[in-house]
Amino acid sequence: MIGFTHYLIFATLLFGIGLFGVLAKRSAVAVLMSVELMLNAVNINFVAISKYIVPNAGVGQLFALFVIVVAAAEVAVGLALIINIFRQKKSVDLHDFNLLKW
């Protein structure tokens, strides 16, 4: 039987994968995708907690919907930035973007 704990463990793993991607992937697109993974891990937590702790309220589900919408908007902005960066440098490797330093 799959229970609350499984959801939390799953969400944690998913968050960990996303975090690894954000910190370690070189491609800016991959980093953006990893951010989505982290957001989705949070969404799973919202829904799971909503289901198991306050079953009748449905606030978690609603919040997850908000996160999805905001994430979609964020991806749109993020991709637009990446396209613009690509036009400037012919690269999406984050290691090439270190202009703002000492």
Binding site: L23, L94, F97, N98
Partner: protein, 626 residues
């Protein structure tokens, strides 16, 4: 106008010169002649009022006091009034100040003729006259201190009147700073009085001090107050400014630095005698300071060559005499000497001014000579002044000096009596050294000289008359009217002693004869004397090296402290500020390598930060739970 209503108009006495000062300064400074006239008219008005007020006071009962006051400053713990106090002491000072000021201002018409700063000269003179009259008419210490400082600033302005000369500027600064040292102690004394007795009014204080018995407090207050007279009346060790103050125009030296302002200290000793006499220790200190200054300055005057400096040291010496009189409790004698001294010393200074004017600003007595032929009026008035100063009967100086010597002798201060007699001998000697060298000497420096105009000689003659007759007001011939009105509350009246009179006259005559033998007959060569006693001569000629000593003191103590503080400022204060900036800079320089521009590095920092926060939050929760 009835005589009594004069007293209620005494506020006009200081007000008229102040008005003249304001009018000249604001409106009429472009018309020097008119400014001079305005100033002289104002002081003449004050003179007339003062004489009327004095007449009323000296014909009334001897304890009559006219006092009015208006609240000027009122706050918790301090109340200062602006008021008038007219009693015999004030009346004498009013008459002396206005008489001398009036004559000096008239004399200045001739002496300062054609000076480009004539209008400002007269405005300063008016300001001085107003301040000095305000000082003597004050009924409390607070108001007195305000005017005390005002006369100080006038002294500064007039010493530095020819500010183009470096020596005049230096002298003005020296006078002001030395006076400030004394005034600081004076102000502390006044504040002490306010704290201890809760009032600054002279009459209220007199009552309270009489019933006060804490000797330590009285000594502290009276010694602090004594600093004021020591600065203003140039008593040792704050005497150094007065000889240098001779850089000012000679009429200024006559008025401020001989007759009136420097007497303010003596006046204060008399006005506040109820405080000083409450402490026997302070009285001894006053007598010793005065006596020492008298002897010290007289010995310096023996060898000076500058006509004004001789008179300046003579003034120091005579002020010491008056202070000594105050110290031995002979207040009547001290005030009496103040009055006669004001007349004959201003006469001597104005005479010296007349000589300097005629000699085209030459002040060295050895470059004068034979002036008696060319300038008879100046010469003979000067001789009268010198005779009065030397104490030859029946001139005024004889009576007042004799009074002091009598007070010292009869009061049991034999040491001070001998010292006073010695000073009298030296005084007669140096004055007649000056006269025999400058006026009757065989040097022919005076050939070109010419007699000064009447506007200068008439004041000389008037002062000469006063120098002759002013002494009679306190002689048995006129029933000691002066002493009847002006005396300390518990003063002992000493009967005049014929032997003391004769001895002091003989001493003065001996001084004159010695000067005559050395400088006129040249029986003893003064050059040989100078050779023989060259060590003493050098010490005296260099004024006991007091100025050099002060210069050293300033060099090592003041400049040394300044150097230490400069080091502290540069190294410690600046060092702390610079060190902080250096630390910030270096740490930034080291930490900048953490900012490598990589967005993922920053993400790691954020994550690490969250982890740290989380762990600490968990720890906190578990600590609370456990």
């Amino acid at each position: 106008m009835s005589l009594q209503s004069v007293l209620s108009h005494t506020w006009l006495i200081p007000f008229l010169p102040f008005l003249a000062f304001a009018l000249i300064g604001l409106l009429f400074h472009r018309w020097p002649k008119f400014s001079a006239l305005l100033s002289i008219l104002a002081i003449a008005g004050s003179f007339v009022l003062s004489v009327m007020a004095a007449f009323i006071v000296f014909t009334g009962p001897n304890d009559a006091v006219f006092e009015v006051a208006a609240r000027w400053l009122d706050m918790p713990g301090l109340r200062v009034d602006m008021g008038l106090l007219v009693d015999p002491l004030t009346a004498v000072m009013l008459v002396v100040v206005t008489t001398v000021a009036l004559l000096v201002q008239i004399y200045s018409l001739g002496y300062m003729h054609g000076d480009p700063g004539l209008a400002s000269y007269y405005s300063f003179q008016s300001l001085f006259a107003g301040s000095m009259l305000g000082l003597v008419i004050s009924n409390n210490f607070g108001q007195m201190f305000v005017f005390w400082e005002l006369v100080g600033i006038c002294s500064y302005l007039l010493i530095g009147f020819w500010f183009g000369r470096d020596s005049a500027k230096e002298a003005a600064k020296k006078a002001f700073i030395t006076n400030r040292v004394g005034d600081f102690g004076f102000l502390l004394g006044i504040l002490f009085l306010q704290i201890v007795f809760g009032t600054l009014n002279f009459n209220e204080l007199a009552g309270q001090v009489a019933g006060y018995s804490n000797a330590a407090v009285l000594i502290t207050i009276s010694v602090l107050l004594l600093f004021g007279p020591m600065g203003k009346s140039a008593q040792f060790p704050l005497h150094v400014w007065l000889p240098d103050a001779m850089e000012g125009p000679t009429p200024v030296s006559a008025l401020i630095h001989a007759a009136t302002m420097v007497a303010a200290g003596v006046y204060l000793l008399a006005r506040a005698s109820f405080i000083f006499s409450s402490s026997a220790e302070t009285m001894t200190l006053i007598a010793v300071v005065g006596g020492f200054t008298a002897l010290f300055a007289a010995s310096i005057a023996l060898v000076q060559n500058d006509i004004k400096r001789i008179l300046a040291y003579s003034t120091l010496s005579q002020l010491g005499y008056m202070v000594m009189a105050m110290g031995i409790g002979a207040m009547t004698a001290g005030m009496f000497h103040l009055m006669t001294h004001a007349f004959f010393k201003s006469l001597l200074f104005l005479g010296a001014g007349s000589v300097i004017h005629a000699m085209a600003d030459e002040q060295n007595i050895w470059k004068m000579g034979n002036l008696n032929k060319k300038m008879p009026a100046t010469t003979w008035t000067f001789v009268i002044g010198a005779l009065a100063l030397a104490g030859i009967p029946p001139l005024s100086g004889f009576w007042s000096k004799d009074e002091i010597l009598l007070g010292a002798f009869a009061g049991g201060h034999t040491g001070l009596y001998i010292l006073g007699s010695l000073v009298a001998f030296m005084t007669a000697f140096y004055m007649f050294r000056l006269i025999f060298v400058a006026f009757f000497g065989s040097n022919h420096g005076g050939e070109k000289a010419h007699e000064s105009p009447a506007v200068m000689t008439v004041p000389l003659v008037i002062l000469a008359i006063l120098a002759v007759v002013a002494g009679f007001v306190n002689t048995p011939l006129m029933g000691n009217i002066f002493g009847h009105y002006i005396s300390a509350p518990n003063a002992v009246h000493h009967e005049p002693s014929m032997s003391i009179m004769i001895i002091s006259s003989l001493i003065a005559l001996a001084g004159i004869c010695l000067a005559w033998l050395i400088y006129q007959k040249q029986v003893i060569s003064h050059e040989a004397l100078k050779e023989r006693f060259s060590a003493i001569y050098q010490v005296l000629y260099n004024k006991f090296y007091i100025d050099e000593f002060y210069a050293l003191l300033i060099k090592y103590c003041v400049d040394g402290t300044a150097k230490v503080l400069e080091w502290f400022d540069l190294k410690v204060v600046n060092g702390a500020v610079n060190g902080l900036a250096y630390l910030t800079g270096r740490s930034g320089y080291g930490l900048k390598y953490t900012e490598n521009g990589q967005v993922q590095t920053y993400a790691v920092y954020m994550y690490a930060g969250i982890v740290v926060l989380l762990i600490s939050a968990l720890c906190a929760v578990f600590t609370v739970l456990a």
